[in-house]
């Protein structure tokens, strides 16, 4: 079930016996901007369409989703990813949340510490020498890094 938060709203409405038609119900989403919401709706529609096209074939569905996701990522800025992640989380849209988190993970995979700090907008707030100690302690995890 996509957009679980919205479904919950509809369920609550039904429980209160509100009989207004679904097409005219306005659902307040105070925590979601219109731009990320538009992207999430498109993602959701596309996912459902691909699923329907491929009936029972899970492999084909995954392959087509991958292709669509690759196209989508070309149009999304890294900073938009935060908004998308927060929106998907608020709407309880699991597949989109997984996808956007994966996208961020892939952006920082095999990158140097400096690059990742820049990507997340972080400053090192360690005391003198503490960072050196950490580097030594975790030396085994710092191998295989890409050039920036």
């Amino acid at each position: 079930m996509k957009f679980c938060a919205v479904k919950q709203y509809f369920d609550d409405e039904n429980n209160n016996n509100i009989t207004s038609g679904a097409s005219t119900t306005m659902i307040p989403l105070p925590n979601v901007e219109s731009h990320p919401l538009a992207i999430l709706i498109t993602y959701c529609k596309k996912h459902l369409k691909i699923k329907a096209n491929n009936a029972d074939n899970k492999k084909e569905t995954e392959k087509e989703m991958e292709q669509y996701e690759q196209e989508l990522l070309k149009k999304v800025m890294p900073q938009e990813l935060t908004e998308l992640i927060l929106a998907a989380n608020y709407l309880n849209f699991k597949e989109a949340l997984d996808f956007f988190c994966r996208a961020v993970a892939s952006a920082i995979q095999n990158k140097s510490i400096e690059f990742v700090r820049k990507f997340f907008g972080l400053e090192s707030d360690f005391e003198l020498g503490e960072e050196e100690k950490l580097r030594e302690e975790f030396a085994w995890s710092f191998e295989g890094v890409d050039e920036d």
Binding site: E66, Q70, E71, P78, T82, C101, W140, S141
Partner: protein
């Protein structure tokens, strides 16, 4: 796990153009994300990369310890140049994870250890994880010494998925219980006795997904594979017996809720499928132990398939189709509900066999072929058998909407097949041709020419047919 990594990698190549803008991003943008979402991001990294983030800033110091999954892959986590073995590094990871005030209990533990595996440590780590609400346990190990499975596992109330591959000794106690287990995959070399498998299945009241790879040792004797699980929906059973002189197996499946069945194995005397009235999809890859099939073998396979003729989707390997050919008599059932038919394997064309089966599936809409790379196996089909048959299978002209050919090489038999289908399928909407990624340039040229012939020269009886293929694969 490997599936997830593949998708993460494919995301990577697309963010490359957006990456340049990272330096101009609003500095605090990601700090607005709560810990739970940051750990969600970390859960998509390997454990090595996740641990490396501890150096980013003081907030990130222990963030990685909050990820409730551990995927420990031996080839990723040993550093001989630093004099650190897999066991050293995993010990370090484990200790640090538990050194914070409220350690995050593990939900998923997976270990892949295929060289120099010490089962003692696997046992230790499993015992440490089980009491804290472990939901998913996946072990893929290659151990010389047998690993007796820890008893505490058999009483886990939280385990939802259990996947084991390796030299384990499975000996479930009689009061074993897995009240939450929905997924069970076993690729084991050792069952303590022939009752162990039934014992573990009886212990799973909500099991839905079962995958069994059965390996028969030389002196195993008789091994009974009895699956009577009323809640089971999906089943994959693979049992090839190469030690047939000294060992044998029997299969008995009685699973009334089953929807998907994949059976790959040697056809032996005792294979019984019963009570499968809800079956939707069947995949069959049956082989004859001695290689050469007879009419009796064919009848046995038809006996197996006949009660399952209500399925909507059927997939047959070419070897299975070849066996079935020996008994194409009147006792062959009609597949009244069949919506999708697929042939896979080394496709040497038995057009008459394909045509015969199509004639038994009056409502077929999807026809698919998946060719394996060792393509030119068997004899090329004589031209005469492609000649216009007097009886075109009804489904081809009235129902077939989709045809998919995977692994196209543009050779003579494939072209004939495509020609026949296009000529006859009046309501065909899509003909999708997929090409293997790694072709030589002469092969690519042949495929390009073949595709252009198909598009431009082959007559098509369907006005709305679209021929789809990935151009990039043949450039």
């Amino acid at each position: 796990m490997s599936q997830r990594n593949a998708r993460t990698k494919s995301c990577k190549s697309c963010l490359s153009s957006a990456r340049q803008n990272a330096s101009t991003a609003d500095p605090d943008i990601f700090s607005t994300l709560p810990d739970s979402l940051l750990t969600h991001i970390l859960s998509h990294l390997s454990i090595r990369e996740s641990v490396a983030t501890s150096i980013l800033s003081s907030r990130w110091r222990t963030l990685w310890t909050l990820v409730p999954q551990l995927h420990l892959i031996e080839t990723d986590l040993n550093r001989p140049n630093l004099n650190l073995s897999f066991v050293d590094i995993v010990s370090r990871i484990w200790t640090l994870r538990n050194a914070i005030t409220n350690p995050m209990p593990l939900h998923t533990l997976s270990i892949v250890w295929l060289t120099h595996c010490h089962p003692f440590y696997v046992d230790t780590w499993v015992r440490a994880a089980i009491p804290h609400g472990l939901k998913e346990l996946c072990l893929n190990i290659c151990n010389d010494t047998l690993l007796e499975f820890p008893r505490s596992v058999f009483f886990s109330t939280t385990l939802v998925a259990l996947k084991l591959a390796g030299n384990f000794s499975l000996n479930p106690p009689s009061d074993a219980r897995f009240p939450s287990l929905r997924i069970l995959h076993l690729a084991l070399l050792n069952y303590a006795n022939s009752e162990s498998l039934s014992a573990i299945l009886t212990a799973c009241p909500v099991l839905q997904d079962l995958c069994l790879y059965v390996f028969l040792r030389k002196d195993q004797g008789n091994f009974n594979i009895v699956v009577q699980v009323p809640t089971l929906k999906r089943m994959y059973l693979c049992c090839f017996n190469y030690n047939f002189q000294s060992s044998s197996f029997k299969v008995h499946i009685n699973t009334p809720a089953l929807e998907y069945l994949i059976f790959k194995g040697h056809l032996v005397e005792d294979v019984v499928f019963e009570n499968l009235s809800h079956l939707v999809a069947l995949v069959l890859q049956v082989e004859i132990v001695n290689g050469v099939s007879t009419e009796d073998d064919a009848k046995r396979v038809w006996d197996l398939i006949r009660p399952l003729a209500h399925v909507k989707s059927l997939s047959l390997s070419t070897k299975t189709t070849e066996i079935l050919c020996h008994a194409f008599g009147d006792n062959v059932p009609m597949f009244h509900n069949l919506f999708s038919l697929k042939f896979n394997g080394c496709l040497y064309f038995e057009w008459h066999a394909i045509r015969f089966l199509l004639g038994r599936a009056p409502k077929l809409q999807i026809l698919a072929f998946e060719s394996c790379p060792e393509h030119s196996y068997g004899q090329p089909t004589p031209d005469s058998s492609w000649e216009e048959p007097l009886d075109v299978p009804e489904c081809l002209s009235s129902h077939l909407t989709t045809c998919h050919y995977k692994g196209f090489l543009g050779d003579k038999d494939e072209m004939q097949l495509v020609r026949q289908i296009l000529k006859v399928a009046r309501v065909l909407k899509t003909l999708k041709i997929t090409v293997d990624g790694h072709l030589e340039s002469e092969e690519k040229l042949r495929v390009r020419e073949a595709l252009s012939t198909i598009v431009q020269k082959f007559p098509k009886s369907s006005q709305t047919c679209e021929i789809a293929f990935d151009e990039r694969a043949v450039l």
